[in-house]
Amino acid sequence: MKKILLSGLLLVLLTGCTPRTTEGNTVPHLRVWVGDNADVAWMEQVVRDFRAANPNQAYEIQIGVQNEGDAARVILADVESAADVFTFADDQLPDLLLGGALMPLQEDAADVLNRNTPESVSAASGPDGQLYAYPATADNGYFLFYNRSLITPEDAGSFEGLLARAAQNGRRIAFPMANGWYLYSFFRGAGLEMRLSDDGVTNLCTWNATDAPISGAEVLSALLDIARHPGFVSADSDAFVAGIKDGSIIAGVSGTWNAAVAAQVWGEDYAAAKLPTFRVGERDVQMASFSGFKLVGVNPYSRNAGAALDLANFMTGYEAQLDRFRLRRQGPSNVAALASAEVQTEPAIAAISAQAPYADVQRVGSKYWDAAASLGKIIASGNPEQLPLQTLLDNAVAGITAPAGQ
């Protein structure tokens, strides 16, 4: 009987306490996520160069594709098993920090700080001022496109000029009003604030301010005037492209992703510029914007964080960014690469540079988007229920600033 008991216990011990395997390999295994299938060829080139630059160290590198706009969601679903190195759009940095999914830069932080534009560096920094990612591109913002045959550069300087010219020609100026990312530009331009507060989760928003030099209601009233103008159409990306193709839209606000279509349809007449001013009461206000950067982050749960940092550093260096521009027309954040002649001749990049002084790094909590889109849609449809402007703004601000779990 005792023997049986003992053997039973032994079995329990054997199955229960198998020792865990320990990490003993010297060849670091790295998984890298790039943003698009079209980036894979570029990344393969980077990996070849990376190996050539480190002849004394072997690496096992596996390339995967994960859309940059969606990277945080996928990574935060399971940080511990996410990729070692990943590309993401800079608006997700606060979320990734909240989820503890970004490794602060170590030895190369000072170099990264010096070689990239100040805007891209601040986009890659956390609230503590430390760098948490490597800037990779700097062209993810929006700007104005217009058809030079119908609009003079002078008209393109103000929304009023654009709208008047469009109405005169029976055409439209497009702006994605029902989208918080773009709607921000008007309110921010007028000096009102909307950003992530210091807790890293909720938003701070003064769009309903009544005591500001330009009150929220004044901005909203100006926006309703724009939306009701016969020369205006609120158009999302699809509608913008459709309008350019059928000729109904002669100018609009969008980003590099639609530049190719505009350049193709308008040909020689394709022009890009900074965002226009718009009229609030008696004042002309320059529209602000969100800048946009693609960043490369390193997972702190990576087993080979050091090697991952090295690879991330290499894939955002001067050579890699210039290669990226040549292969994918993506604008560099590297100061030297940005200054090169071939980059400077790209109209979209020139327009983004012109808009840069009025652009903010995007630091926004998740509660902003639905509430802002809703306000934008009300503006775009001309406030059909004739609600008091202050009520609209108060509702929007209540939604934007609500705590994360509500």
């Binding site: 199955t15 503890g100 807790d199 639905d370 809703s374 306000l375 849609k377 009300i378 059909p384 209540a398």
Partner: protein, 455 residues
């Protein structure tokens, strides 16, 4: 070790035997000489016990959901991160629940073994039994294990999340979760609080139920009428017509829905055509549409709801037609012919014979169709994702829209806002609604009895 004589067994020995059976699973078998079975039983017990031992630390941490936050130290010499032995609240939940399940299983098995009074059977006898009279147990073992592992345990974990603070500000493993009892439920149901969730919930629930009833009934009626039309004696080329509608069903739903979404987009083909013909301007002039230049098929609350219901007919009717055709072909012809001889008109035959027969056969599928529609993610999501923006600011503040079903709202909350706790609460309520409908409807169906339903 000699065998014990039954006559010498006192009360103590009987107790000892019961204890031995229930706590040392293989012992009796081995005493009876069934060595292999005894060892198998012992290893099963050992596996179960080791499972319990492995999950025990998590079980102990379940009340607090962990106390050790994750901490990382960078080692500049090895260039690796050194992590402390941190608690992962989500894993504590998962393993804690698994541990509870294992303990329940263990106790139940121990009690069952203790009750058994027959001498243990041999492995050969067991095999004969499991392949003979108890064959259902053999066949059900794998699916039941699968259901417990991939359904019951994760479901229990998901339900428990509704009582935690698992949201964007508390993401594992970097943060620890904690229990917050019923406050998530209060946020959703406390209408007096004026919160966005309490505002959105009754509206989303209302549309979910409206949608489920309307979509189910419209497809049911439409499909049945279509089947009857095709089944009429005077209809020619019956197989051809059926094939036509079958083709609509054979195309994967997401293909046909995305196609519809593009057709009816604000800048889609339908809008372009109608605008070209002047219909759009005319509608705008008479005030039928709020937007100049396009009909807001999928972007205005009223239009979008109507369009969703209409497009759903396209994907739902062919399927119902197929079901109804099968049932209609099975109606005994004597019944209808006798009715006609008695002088009943077509309408009377339909009301007195066809409809009751149909309802009797397809009643249960009508209910399951309704429950499916409550969770009909595809139609709503594929048609309105990214293009529908609500102008109801309080709905927007809760991350919901007028066209959202509870299930799409839940999806938005997890995917866009990492609000797992509220998503879990909504999931529980969806389950409650579905089970309430199913239970009431099935009870009524069975209570009426088969004779009553088909007079």
């Amino acid at each position: 070790m000699s065998r014990l004589h039954p006559a010498k067994e006192g009360a103590f020995l009987a107790f000892w035997r019961m204890l031995r059976r229930s706590l040392l699973w293989g012992a009796d078998s081995i005493l009876h000489g069934h060595w292999i079975k005894g060892l198998l039983l012992f290893s099963a017990q050992a596996a179960l016990l080791s499972g319990i031992i492995l999950t025990f630390p998590s079980l102990m941490k379940l009340p607090s959901l962990g106390t050790v936050p994750a901490e990382r130290i960078w080692d500049p010499i090895t260039r690796r991160n050194v992590w402390n032995d941190y608690d992962n609240s989500f894993l504590i939940l998962l393993f804690g629940v698994t541990g509870i399940a294992l303990i329940i299983l263990f106790v139940v098995l121990c009690l069952r073994r203790g009750k058994a009074s027959r001498p243990p059977s041999s492995l050969r006898e067991d095999a004969a039994r499991l392949l003979g009279p108890d064959f259902h147990k053999t066949m059900l073992l794998l699916p039941v294990t699968g259901v417990v592992l991939v359904m019951v345990i994760p479901l229990a974990v998901m339900i428990l999340i509704a009582f935690t603070n698992y949201d964007r500000a508390h993401l594992v493993p970097t943060n620890l979760l904690s229990w917050i009892s019923l406050s998530n439920f209060k946020q959703l149901t406390d209408l007096a609080s004026g919160g966005a969730f309490a505002y959105a919930f009754p509206r989303v629930l209302g549309w979910t139920l409206t949608w489920a009833v309307t979509a189910t009934l419209s497809c049911y009626i439409g499909g049945t009428l279509l089947a009857m039309l095709i089944n009429r004696r005077s209809t020619r080329w019956k197989p051809f017509w059926r094939t036509c509608f079958m083709a609509a069903m054979a195309v994967p739903q997401f293909v046909s829905l995305l196609l519809m979404r593009n057709l009816f987009a604000d800048v889609g083909i339908v809008n372009t055509l109608l605008k070209g013909w002047g219909v759009t301007d005319w509608l705008y002039r008479i005030g039928a549409i709020p937007t100049a230049g396009h009909i807001p098929f999928l972007t205005h609350p009223g239009w979008a709801r109507g369009m969703i219901l209409a497009i759903n007919l396209w994907v739902g009717i062919p399927w119902q037609m197929l079901v109804a055709t099968g049932v209609l072909l099975n109606i005994p012809r004597e019944l209808t012919e006798a009715a006609r001889i008695d002088g009943a008109g077509a309408l009377q035959v339909f009301r007195r014979i066809t409809l009751p027969y149909l309802l009797h056969i397809t009643g249960p599928s009508l209910i399951s169709g309704m429950v499916t529609n409550i969770n009909n993610f595809n139609v709503i999501w594929l048609l309105t994702r990214d293009i529908y923006v609500t102008t109801d600011q309080q709905m927007a503040a809760a991350g919901a829209t007028e066209v959202d079903l509870l299930v799409t709202w839940l999806y938005r909350l997890t995917q866009d806002q990492s609000n797992y706790k509220m998503a879990s609460v909504i999931g529980i309520l969806v389950f409650a609604v579905c089970s309430a409908i199913t239970l009431t409807a099935f009870t009524r169906l069975t209570r009426d009895g088969k004779e009553a339903a088909f007079r």
